[in-house]
Amino acid sequence: MSAPNSKRGSYFLITPMALVFAIFLVIPLLTIVVVSFWDYDEYRILPDFIFENYSYLLGSSVTWQIYLNTFKYAALTWAFTLGIGFTVAYFLAFHVRSLTWQIILFMVCTIPFWTSNIIRMISWIPFLGRNGLLNQALMGTGIIHEPLEFLLFSDFAVVLADVHLYTLFMVVPIFNSMMRIDRSLIEAARDNGASGWATLRHIIVPLSKPGIAIGSIFVITVVMGDFITVRLMSGGQSASVGLQISNEIGLLQYPAAAASAVVLLITVLLIVTALLRLVDIRKEL
């Protein structure tokens, strides 16, 4: 074995990871790009070089509608997960005093994450349905007289499930950033008469930015590509970019799916590049 401290050692050590990325990330993505220029009929993909997939995709009003819808889901989910995630992380980092309790409370937040996402998602259905627990409770107490229909199979349900599933992805990096804030800074601020609010605004929020950026990248990319939540929680009534791709895959229209995928990939990369300007991930870990 070559010495890990030499450059050759570094190359040796990085090779397995680089290989996996090459075979299962880079080449597949290139394949998608190539196939997006292919033609297809009902049951086959036909090697070709056409722009029809793109011209249909970009020329269709549906595409824009779907993107608008997906951005809406992403924006709403982002706003809610950020708000909730930041508050929770702030509580854990600054108000829970012992490490043991921090770990325990953290675990409490993590455990649901271990149950299948799909099961967690569908667990909302009996809760929110027309005859679900919530409607029954609300009607039982006389607050409403007709069941609330918007609770399930709606945009509300989709965003709710997304927030439910992904808030943790916001909590973890923000918590991580907060734990690295030097406590003496905060004490100094307090000694100089800064209110808790001012400390939060001028010290904690700016110093948590890397965590916020990482969490945001994560939540936004996951929601942009999501198709199961939209399918299950909207009752199949709404569309997202991911769902469109998944439908096209299902219907064997691989080149169309590939073209959609390329456009989605570019969109996501643009968003992430913008967010990465705010933070140098490598330094912030």
Binding site: N5, L13, V20, T31, V88, W114, I118, I122, G225, L269
Partner: protein, 274 residues
């Protein structure tokens, strides 16, 4: 760690209440499926309860009308275990590699980031197409494994970054001064120090793999993993057996977390003693 006991500010109580609500939000809906998994024999997927029974738990272990829950569960466990081992080893190696700069390091790093942010369905589609075009048979242990690794490696690598960024190299220098070889230094100094983080990587990668759906969709070949099976069940099952499965897997997760947590505590204690 000694801290002075001071009076809690009002903000604490407000935030604590918020946190409690958040936990309720996390667990509330799971409670509904927990309750519904005890539906009577003729009960449906939604309220009202139609009696109370353990029928669906028993049913879970019997043959289903369609699908094979047991097989897919075992498959997911196996796949998760393989992914876990590979991720721990490869991430550790990569973590070591990144401790010094080498040509292409930024490129590999951004590959990892890309791997993290590329929507999962694209990975699935890409690998599916690739295998398709080259007429290779996808299998959960080949294409499926690869797809999962693109998901777990970035996490593993990022955790290793976090670890080595805070790693005090003076221990290694000391070891080397005492005549330890590179391998010995890694084996006896570095490895024990990063062991808890490696357990973290292991837990993380197992969970991510065990629960992975979108990347597995087109890469699993002809045999389903558990999430694929569950997804199939959401469209193929009309009984609370699905909820029984949810309840059981949650309990299973509790057990695993408990064990892992115990292992970390044990390691800590041993380190404290040693």
């Amino acid at each position: 760690m000694v801290r002075t006991r001071e009076k809690r500010p009002t903000a604490f109580y407000i935030l604590a209440a918020f946190f409690a609500l958040f936990v309720l939000f996390l667990y509330g809906p799971m409670l509904t499926i927990f309750i519904l998994s005890f539906q009577g024999e003729n009960g449906g997927l939604t309220f009202p309860m139609n009696g109370f029974s353990f029928h669906w738990f028993v049913n879970l272990f019997q043959q289903q009308a369609v699908g094979d829950f047991g097989g897919s569960f075992l498959r997911s466990l196996k796949l998760g275990a393989i992914v876990m081992v590979v991720t721990v080893v490869v991430s550790f190696m990569a973590g070591l590699a990144f401790r010094r700069r080498f040509r292409g390091d930024t490129f590999v790093f951004y590959l990892a980031i890309a791997s993290l942010i590329v929507p999962s369905i694209l990975i699935s589609l890409g690998i599916g197409l690739l295998f398709n075009i080259f007429q290779i048979q996808p299998h959960w242990y080949s294409s499926g494994l690869g797809a999962h690794l693109t998901w777990t490696f970035p996490f593993g690598l990022l955790i290793m970054f976090a670890v080595f960024n805070r790693f005090d190299p003076s221990f290694e220098e000391a070891a080397r001064d005492l005549g330890a070889s590179n391998w010995q230094t890694i084996r006896h100094v570095v490895l024990p120090m990063v062991a808890p983080s490696l357990i973290g990587v292991a837990m993380f990668s197992f969970t991510l793999s065990y629960d992975e759906f979108a990347r597995t969709l087109m890469t699993a070949g002809s045999l389903n993993t558990l999430p694929l099976e569950i997804y199939g069940m959401t469209t193929n099952v009309t009984t609370p057996v699905l909820y029984a499965l949810g309840t059981l897997t949650t309990v299973f997760s509790f057990v695993i977390i408990g064990l892992a947590f115990g292992a970390v505590l044990l390691l800590r204690r041993r380190k404290a003693i040693g």
